[in-house]
């Protein structure tokens, strides 16, 4: 085994060391990495431009989950029963906590711009972290730019970076962790455990509180930290202490999550086994024989591969494939290679989850086909970006004369890929297809929500916002404490039992929801009131579209 006992120097800079590129390349092993700020600004600029486009077209709210994240973030404060318990257990809390201060402003909430701000900043943070990682790996300027190109020029990632979805936060925390570990491993000076905890451990902990795909990253990063420490001459005990320093924030975060579950729901594993958990959702698919990837690694690989192809693109995949072989050949199991391999942990976790039936992903290769959850593979883009950059770096090192040709070829290929994608976004990009599908599915209920927004004159609204396609608070654009929902606590049940005394308005499905996979997706208001003659005698249907009805209490009724 090749053991690197110290951080290797960066690859030699070009002869013209006074050039801007050379100065940017500089010494990548210090804490400061030149170009970080411009890269951040550039990525934020790109994300802002994308956000302007999607906010104008309203597509930033196409995903039902995006609206749900905004709603959860706001209802922590704006609710009949405010408090941290509103964070729930369906999703990890950090993205909601980041959104929370912004969504208190009704305009930022209603337009989804709050999500744009958080996600665009995450895109900037991701690009910066990627830049710093590639610098610390000692990659040349062209290679670093290629990594940025793969990340920032990806339309699917750009799209989710204009929404309140959690993928941008996940990617930012992943890349932050990788950059932190890379900085620690590649530093000329042996950094302290405290520095490791701050620069790598805290981003990892943030990832732990963002999505479960980040949890295996913590484990792989822990291994890298211990191995790299030992290679630098530390004893196994000292290496273990470094590992502990890195993992401590993540362990603290995970412990907090377990404690939160215990405090709110009485069990630390509510997020795993509760009625709203992903497991409960997948169980329904399993019972119906629709979780076809479970126990079928071939199909899981095909589904994941197809999602990657449609999301990352052929150009990125080919470049990454070449980069993987070149990296393995040149770097073997060096620290630098291990740092890049860290980024693969989320993809490995996804493949494992699909094969073990913990995740559902539906696309053209799945059985049955469709479009669902393919955006999960966006977490693989950092890995692909790093591999592509490493590949370019090695090609340019061996054949510097092809630098411009390679740059031009990659630029043309990425442009061609994007042109092809944008010719028919809903057909060529599964992430956009999912968004479009949900846009269509939500069209009618959003029309009803918009109507209520226009006509609401106070008096309270009884509405179950938990059923399928009912998490619409941003479109409703009304203070959440005006609503009686499941999140309102016991008062929701009271309002269902006696709507006349509580709510002037009732927003419900006129027929029970049947499209939800789980029992929790039923409309409790519909169940109680749809066939209640007393209700229909005292409320008037004032708006109806498809199976949605908005009722208003008759005048004179208390």
């Amino acid at each position: 085994m090749t053991l690197q006992t110290s951080a290797p120097p960066a690859d030699p800079a070009p002869a013209s060391t006074t050039s801007y590129a050379a100065r940017m390349q500089g010494d990548p092993t210090g804490r400061r990495v030149r170009g970080s700020l411009p890269v951040f600004a550039f990525a934020v600029l790109v994300g802002t431009a994308a956000s302007v486009h999607t906010v104008r077209s309203g597509t930033n709210l196409d995903y039902g989950d995006a609206m749900a994240h905004l709603t959860i973030a706001r209802r922590v404060i704006d609710n009949k029963a405010p408090g941290l318990a509103q964070l729930g257990t369906v999703w990890l809390p950090l993205p909601h906590l980041l959104l929370m201060p912004l969504v208190q402003d009704m305009w930022l909430f209603r337009t989804g711009v709050a999500g744009c701000i958080v996600s665009t900043l995450c895109l900037g943070a991701s690009a910066t972290a990627l830049w710093r990682t590639t610098a610390r790996l000692g990659l040349g300027m062209l290679a670093r730019l290629v990594a940025l190109l793969v990340l920032v020029a990806n339309p699917s990632l750009l799209y989710v970076s204009t929404t309140a979805l959690t993928e941008p936060v996940l990617i930012a925390t992943m890349l932050g962790t990788i950059a932190g570990v890379a900085g620690w491993c590649r530093s000329r000076r042996q950094l302290s455990g405290g520095e490791l905890a701050v620069f790598a451990g805290i981003p990892a902990a943030a990832g732990v509180l963002t999505r479960y795909e980040a949890w295996p990253l913590v484990i792989s990063a822990l291994v890298v930290v211990i191995v790299a420490s030992h290679r630098r001459g530390c004893s196994w005990r000292r290496s273990g202490l470094y590992g502990l320093a890195f993992a401590a924030p993540s362990m603290l975060a995970a412990s907090w999550w377990l404690a939160y579950n215990t405090a709110v729901y009485g069990t630390p594993v509510e997020f795993l086994t509760g009625q709203y958990s992903a497991a409960a959702f997948t169980q329904v698919y399993l019972d119906n024989g629709l979780l076809a990837t479970k126990g079928n690694p071939g199909l899981s690989f095909a589904v994941l591969g197809w999602a990657l192809l449609e999301t990352a693109g052929l150009v990125a995949l080919v470049a990454a494939g070449v980069g993987l072989l070149l990296m393995t050949w040149h770097w073997g199991l060096e620290d630098r290679a291990l740092i890049v391999w860290m980024a693969a942990s989320s993809s490995a976790f996804l493949l494992f989850s699909l094969t073990t039936g913990q995740h559902i992903m539906v696309n053209d290769k799945s059985l049955p086909t469709g479009a669902y959850n393919n955006r999960y593979v966006l977490s693989a883009i950092p890995w692909l970006a790093l591999l592509a950059a490493v590949g370019v770096h090695h090609v340019v090192r061996r054949a510097p004369q092809v630098r411009m040709l390679l740059a031009a070829a990659l630029l043309v290929a990425v442009t061609a890929q994007n042109v092809w994608w944008l010719q028919a976004p809903t057909a060529h990009m599964t992430v956009i297809e999912e968004a479009h599908d949900q846009h269509v599915a939500y069209t009618r209920i959003k029309a009803a929500a918009t109507w209520l927004h226009t006509h609401y004159d106070g008096g309270g609204i009884l509405m179950d916002q938990t059923p399928d396609k009912s998490s619409l608070a941003p479109v409703l654009g009304i203070r959440i404490d005006e609503f009686f929902t499941r999140a309102s606590g016991p008062v929701f049940q009271e309002a269902i039992e006696d709507p006349y005394a509580h709510a002037r308005w009732v927003f419900m499905h006129r027929r029970q929801v049947t499209s939800s996979a789980t029992e929790t997706g039923r409309d409790l208001v519909t169940r109680a009131l749809a066939k209640d003659p007393q209700f229909h005698a005292r409320y008037r249907l004032v708006y109806a579209i498809a199976d949605i009805g908005i009722y208003r209490r008759l005048e004179g009724t208390p």
Partner: protein, 646 residues
């Protein structure tokens, strides 16, 4: 509303111009259902000719008159050139028009026309959809019996009540191919709902009265094909006897106008060779069957053109349209032309004083359908707002020249999938394979005939039938039809539904259930290896003693609803309910299909193995290099090795 309107008008226009007919009620013994329908738009008159069987005396024409979008007004109904009745414009009303022998024209038809008459109005109805008048469900009541034809030329009536193509129970492949070809040819001649069936000789043929015909395909001793008319089982019968390719050519000739040349009870020259398939991907509107396209009047008027993909000799995935014409000078008025394709706006222009009209529009793959509906709309309003009887200027008129207006297409399958890809993917020639599975003679061939008839009725050109063996179709590369498919066939073709036990998705939104061991028949659209195959087969549990003949129910469903009513990629027939259409995604993945996917993990294994191999090589080389360095250092330290300077 707009989509419904367009569909209705397109259907009416197509049924009138292209001969696609609409369902009519069953006729009594002295009544005959006629498949024709008559559609008019706005105040423009329109006429159709209704055939009267030779020898009978017509007594009445009955039909349903519907008017859509009218605000008052009346409908003038004209029979044989004379106004027979004027009725108030109502959404729907029955009509009974007494007729006599005097109304029958020299060509044996009675002409019937309708025209919507607007109520007196001074304002303009700009922006409103034009009034649609439709005469449908037409039946002809008559006395007497039909005269038996005396020549081959007069054998096939203008309208038939039923046509049976009778073949021997033990028909050879050549005779069967001729029989299927005859069914296809006659289906092209007689639109739905006229039954055109393949019938084994031993089967009974029900009496349907006037307009019934039998075509017998008999194997003959020589290569010469002889066509003879006679009466068999009291039904006028044309017997085509012969062998070899001439038999198929004679069957194909049943769709030819050249049949009229056979002015004798027996002819030997009947034949129509296989057409040239080099169909252009650029056709004029005239070549698509439109002789005139005129839009006129104040308010809104529209013209419709059907653009079936198979008109271009195969599937197409985009089209460009150049409309050229002339219009009256527009002065003191506003007139604009809008072009819609499949109910989506694709072009618009404003008319001015220049008489020349031209517009170019493009339609991408996402807009394409198997049968595309082009709608050209003229909306015109005078500046002074005076229309009708108070108009101060002549209405705007736009004549589109069908001969100079072209549709240029690009070959490709586009976004269509499942049954929507047929019949255009055949390119005009269908490889048909029949695997006998029934105890009834020719039952599977009869199913094939029903499906082919349905396909022909939505095809623009006569389909050429080529009978092949099931194995030849499965292992070949041609698109085609496989009837009597087994589980092995479905597996070999990688059909979306394997013909074995299946279970449907049972989420709450599904309104039906289906037991895993219930027998079923399935018509599947399979896209495999770059070609498309229609597969019809049946599955029943092994414990079942006999097959349930559910395939008959499936194909009868296709016959009654028509091919265009099929969507998705599966049509399932079960014992308990009416045949229903499904997407493969509604079926819980079958074990076979899942197992086939398992092998894909090898690609992952190969990739991982390649990386590991590179890694091992790298580690080996690094280890070797390290050892060499260690040896060098050791040698330097011991002082007896080569120095660095060496």
């Amino acid at each position: 509303m707009r989509a419904t309107l367009i569909v209705a008008v397109v259907a009416t226009c197509l049924s009138t111009s292209l001969g696609v007919m609409l369902p009519v009620p069953a006729a009594s013994a002295d009544e005959m259902g006629l498949p024709q329908a008559l559609g008019t738009q706005g105040t423009a008159p329109n006429t159709i000719s209704l055939p009267v069987p030779a020898g009978v005396v017509p007594t009445a024409i009955r039909a349903r008159l519907s008017v859509e979008g009218a605000r008052g007004g009346s409908v003038r109904v004209v029979v044989a050139g004379r106004t027979r009745v004027v009725v108030a414009a109502r959404p729907s009303q029955p009509l009974s028009l007494p007729v006599s022998r005097a109304d029958v024209g020299p060509n044996g038809t009675i002409s019937v026309g309708t025209q919507y008459v607007e109520p007196r109005a001074t304002g303009c109805r700009v922006g409103e959809d034009p009034v649609l008048t439709r005469l449908s469900g037409i039946t002809l009541a008559f006395d007497g019996t039909e005269r038996t034809p005396t020549s081959v030329a007069g054998f096939l009536p203008a309208t038939a009540s039923r046509v049976d193509v009778v073949v021997p129970d033990d028909a050879s492949p050549a005779v069967l191919e001729a029989g299927l070809t005859a069914v296809v040819a006659l289906s092209d001649r007689y639109p739905a709902p006229t039954p055109v069936l393949l019938t084994p000789e031993s089967s009974r043929v029900p009496d349907t009265g006037a307009g019934q015909r039998i075509i017998r395909i008999d194997p003959g001793p020589g290569s010469e094909v002889i066509s003879t008319i006679a009466t068999w089982r009291d039904v006028p019968t044309l017997t085509i006897a012969g062998s070899g390719p001439g038999l198929v050519d004679a069957a194909r000739a049943l769709d030819s106008d050249a049949l009229a040349l056979g002015d004798a009870p027996s002819v030997t020259t009947l034949g129509l060779s296989q057409p040239d398939r080099d169909v252009d991907t650029r056709l004029s509107l005239a070549e698509l069957g439109n002789e005139t396209l005129r839009l006129s009047g104040w308010g809104r008027s529209s013209a419709y053109v059907g653009i079936p993909q198979d008109s271009f000799g195969g599937p197409v995935d985009s089209l460009e349209l150049d409309l050229v014409g002339v219009h009256t000078a527009v002065r003191d008025a506003h007139a604009q032309v809008e072009v819609f394709l499949n109910d989506r706006l694709v072009g618009s222009t404003v008319l001015d004083e220049e008489a020349d009209f031209s517009i170019h529009v493009e339609a991408p793959a996402s807009m394409m359908r198997a049968e595309n509906a082009l709608e050209v709309t003229l909306t015109a309003a005078p500046d002074d707002g005076r229309c009708g009887t108070t108009a101060t200027q002549a209405p705007v008129l736009l004549d589109i020249d069908p001969a100079r207006s072209f549709v240029a297409t690009t070959r490709g399958t586009g976004h269509l999938s499942g049954f929507d890809r047929f019949p255009q993917v055949f390119g005009g020639e269908v490889a048909v394979a029949v695997r006998p599975t029934s105890t009834q003679p020719l039952a599977d061939a009869q199913d094939a005939a029903v499906l082919l008839a349905a396909l022909q009725r939505v095809a623009s050109h006569l389909l050429t039938i080529r009978l092949v063996s099931p194995d030849e179709l499965i292992t070949g590369t041609d698109s085609g039809l496989l009837v009597g498919a087994t589980y092995d066939d479905s597996a070999a073709l990688r059909a979306p539904l394997r013909l074995s036990g299946m279970r449907l998705v049972d989420l709450a939104e599904e309104t039906f259930s289906f037991a895993a061991d219930s027998p079923y028949a399935a018509l599947e659209a399979v896209h495999e290896g770059g070609r498309d195959v229609l597969l019809l087969g049946e599955w029943y549990p092994e414990a079942t003693l006999s097959r349930a003949d559910l395939t008959d129910r499936a194909v009868q469903s296709v016959a009654s609803t028509g091919w265009r009513d099929l969507h998705a990629d599966l049509l399932i027939a079960t014992q308990d309910r009416e045949p229903f259409r499904l997407s493969t995604d509604s079926v819980i993945p079958q074990a076979d299909r899942l197992d086939e996917q398992r092998s894909l993990i090898w690609w992952f294994g190969i990739g991982t193995g390649l990386v590991l191999l590179v890694l091992l090589l790298q580690l080996g080389l690094a280890s070797h290099r390290n050892r060499a360095i260690r040896d060098l250092v050791r040698a330097q330290e011991s002082g007896d090795g080569p120095g660095l300077d060496d």
